[in-house]
Amino acid sequence: MVSLANPTRFLSLVDRMMPWLTALTLILLGIGLYLAFFVAPPDYQQGETVKIIFIHVPAAWLAMFGYMLIAVAALGTLIWRHPLADVAAKTAAPIGATFTFIALVTGSLWGKPMWGTYWVWDARLTSVLVLFLLYLGLLALWQAIEEPGRAGRAAAILALVGAVNIPIIHYSVVWWNTLHQPASVFRVGGPTIDPSLLAPLLVMALAFTLLFILLHLISMRAEILRRRVRALRQTQVERAALVEA
């Protein structure tokens, strides 16, 4: 694990993993979509609208997973000051924001035929909207500060403050009376979903998770290279200034 913290070794590992991870992600996405559209039966209450759940729930899980990843990386930035931790946090933000956006939009599109409305200000929906705004705030902060080290530390503090929202999202359906239903997969006593619907959901969740990891690794590689380019350009400018002097 320690050797992976070396950016050069990390890049080498990413290069070797990429073809396998890409293939596995595409295969699982294919299987998941096949199960969702051609195998899964309509739900007794939701009918065919249950197909939206196969993308909404994985996107919502990854929205929270992405933010937890940023929060853990923020600790790495602030405590150990490891630059790879900052790279991991910065590159997870746009991916997490996209999955949060997908969770919000697909949830609204499910809500209209099922609840009769696209949106209600209940605790679950509102706390996920706050999560999306936190992601946007982090992205804005990284854009606003040019020096990567300073931007990383400022974003790490914001990320850790915002992490309090994650348990609020998770327990919102328990603590408050919400229109959003309580947990039905990861709960004490086991899932309440029928196995014929649980299987496509779990396959799609695994496929989405691999997609998240794949995009994150490519993005981390790009960010490491961007910082190398930046450092080399600065060196070039300094050498040119020395020659002129």
Partner: protein
């Protein structure tokens, strides 16, 4: 395509938005990765390299090396 029932438009819209959002994200990430590889290759072609990238040089803790480490590279 199976019959998606009376709410087909909501189902197709949900999958459509997801596809477009993921495709756009993947496109920007892959393009950025390609751009950074191109820029780095261009600098290296011009003889501008990190000390640790050259085979002969031992790390001497010079300014460029320190900066590279600081930037996580």
């Amino acid at each position: 395509m199976p019959d998606l029932g009376p709410h087909a438009v909501f189902i197709l819209a949900a999958y459509g938005v997801t596809f477009v959002a993921v495709a756009a994200l993947a496109f920007f990430i892959v393009e950025d990765d390609r751009k950074q590889r191109r820029l780095l290759a261009d600098l290296e072609r011009r003889g501008i390299r990190r000390r640790s990238a050259s085979t002969s040089a031992k790390p001497k803790g010079g300014a460029a090396e320190k900066r590279a480490r600081k930037h996580g590279t």
